[in-house]
Symmetry: C2
């Protein structure tokens, strides 16, 4: 029985990548050393790092002359602090779109920074069943506008970037390289790698080079994009293993045809599940259709006991980790890049059969 | 030909650990999922985390009621900032022992914190060929004394903790669990895991529980020991893979007999190399014998061309990464826990033979 893991994160990796990691784990490229033991000052690693950066920029259609790629640690949560520390230096005022839990967390961390004004300029609270529209009128004295492009918990996504005259800062953690954006409209992009790119423990930052020179010089080294960029992400020992896996996943993604191509597959996968929801009265999803997420599909039968039966029986059928987030209950199918179309088909089929079998219980 | 990796870090892992990682990489404990895909909210991971914490405290002879273990990211370099932010709250004044490059880096980062006074109370500059003695007289109005217990670059180590009436903060990165200390004399211990415990990307922090309650509450989450401890290192997605490897290495270390037992082996390994240096006139090591490091042994022939020949020929003989640090030149043998005695024997034999073969070139 094939097993499909619908977990919200850390997420599945492509099977060929897993197999390659396993095959070469004790001998990396004939060195006799494991990738787990390779020095970050070795030519093997510096080559790996350069390849990963080049592949990422290529996939995002960004120029190496315009954008710097950083491979950091600490997750998106550390970026909630680093982004304002490094970027909010002119107006000391930042604008946030409150699209859900993680946007609220980002705001809460920004508010801990002394002398920084944090404005919520749009909000989908309290139901978070849509992605809020941003309308800013008059001269906007903000250092940037912060967007959380996909909301794993509520299953909403930003499907069109707002037309505002402000630098955009994006937390793309949960749909990074899974949904295509005009990435060059961002001043700064950050993403925890554990959804679509690598095992937990790596954070990708892509930042406009022109901004680096304007950043403060007296920040602690590990909180300074400028200092980290000056040392090409190796100011101290970087997470070599995660960067290695990221490089393999990026190569895999190029083979799949790039971000637009994988988005098309993700759209097919998501549509299978949304159709199973919409074409029955058995399942519900509360999100405004235009704002539905491609990577996270929450749904419920409306009956918490029946939801639990669904989750248990799905697990027995090899469809793992479909339990929804504690804030929403119900089910959630996370369909990141490494989830094959077959996984979504299997879930769709299971959903339709389960609806038939349990129709009279509602 | 066996290959021995004398790199200063990321360092070798025990071979049985590497083999186990490889064997179960695509199916962790019969879950059908890779450890790289296991959720940090899963029972598998919470069990793993609890085991790793318990093993670490056991090996350090510390009580879980008195010390908290945190598994963090960002390396020792982020700790250079976090330690003063969290601990220097009463006197806003900290004391540093300048024992080498990494102690200087820790001091430099502390100096970036506004309103913090940083005093160098002992120094081995400029030659760093000994570990400086700390003598503090009178009432010491410091929040803590910072020690870097082992200096990878210069090959010195702190072999006896100073008798001072101050909380001790220790950067134990390069001899963590390789040299036995009375760990309960420290208020805070931190260590990048990549020398003796796990692949790069994990930082271990061990902190006195009584201190946590006194720490500031308004620090950014990822910089707050208190907030990180409240969420048991899973405030956001922790580096699951590194914690898994750490647990395997800790189990291996228990099997070796614990820290005192591995220190005895490390002492044997280091002695083999120091003897090869001292018993010839061919090699030199500048460190005061009482302060010599067990884990990092720098040496030179005194002739940079001959040193280069040594490094090249050693590599051909399977003795890898013996090049010294750019600040010191020459050679350096790093002999962390996972380096078997046979590796040190092989290096000793190579050194003696090389000295014979090249005696007339000096």
């Amino acid at each position: 029985m094939p097993i499909y893991n619908f977990v919200a994160g850390p997420a599945t990796l492509p099977v060929p990548v897993l197999n390659q990691i396993q095959a070469e784990l004790t001998d990396y490229q004939g060195t006799g050393l494991s990738i787990l033991e390779i020095s970050h000052r070795s030519p093997q690693f510096t080559t790996l790092l350069a390849q990963a950066k080049q592949l990422l920029l290529q996939l995002m259609h960004l120029k190496a002359s315009e954008y710097e790629v950083l491979f950091l640690q600490g997750g998106a949560t550390l970026q909630f602090t680093m982004a304002p520390l490094n970027l909010a230096t002119k107006f000391h005022r930042v604008a946030f779109v409150n699209s859900g839990h993680w946007a609220e967390r980002a705001m809460a961390e920004a508010k801990l920074i002394p002398d920084l004004v944090v404005d919520e300029v749009a909000s989908a609270a309290p139901h978070f069943n849509h992605f809020p529209l941003v309308e800013l009128t008059g001269p906007a004295k903000y250092d940037y506008l912060h967007l959380t492009t996909n909301n794993t918990i509520y299953g909403t996504a930003l499907n069109q970037l707002p037309e505002v005259d402000l630098p955009l800062v994006g937390d793309l953690s949960s749909n990074f390289l899974a949904q295509d954006y005009p990435f060059d409209r961002f001043a700064l992009i950050y993403a925890g790698a554990q959804k679509n790119l690598a095992p937990a423990g790596l954070t990708v930052v892509v930042v406009k080079k022109t901004l680096l020179a304007q950043m403060p010089t007296a920040l602690p080294a590990m909180l300074s994009y400028r200092k980290l960029a000056a040392k090409d992400s190796a100011l101290n020992t970087p997470p070599v293993f995660q960067i290695y896996v990221a490089k393999l996943v990026l190569e895999w993604l190029v083979k799949q045809g790039g971000v637009a191509a994988i988005e098309a597959v993700n759209r097919q996968k998501a549509q299978l599940i949304y159709d199973a929801i919409d074409q029955t009265t058995f399942y519900h999803n509360q999100v405004r259709p235009a704002d539905r997420s491609l990577t996270n599909v929450p749904f419920t039968t409306g009956d918490s006991e029946l939801d639990q039966t669904f989750i248990t029986k799905a697990q027995q059928a090899g469809l793992m980790n479909l339990k929804g987030h504690r804030l929403t209950g119900g089910m959630r199918a996370s369909l990141y890049n490494a989830m094959p179309l077959e996984g979504a088909v299997a879930l769709r089929n299971f959903m339709l059969q389960f609806a038939k079998d349990h129709e009279e219980e509602k």
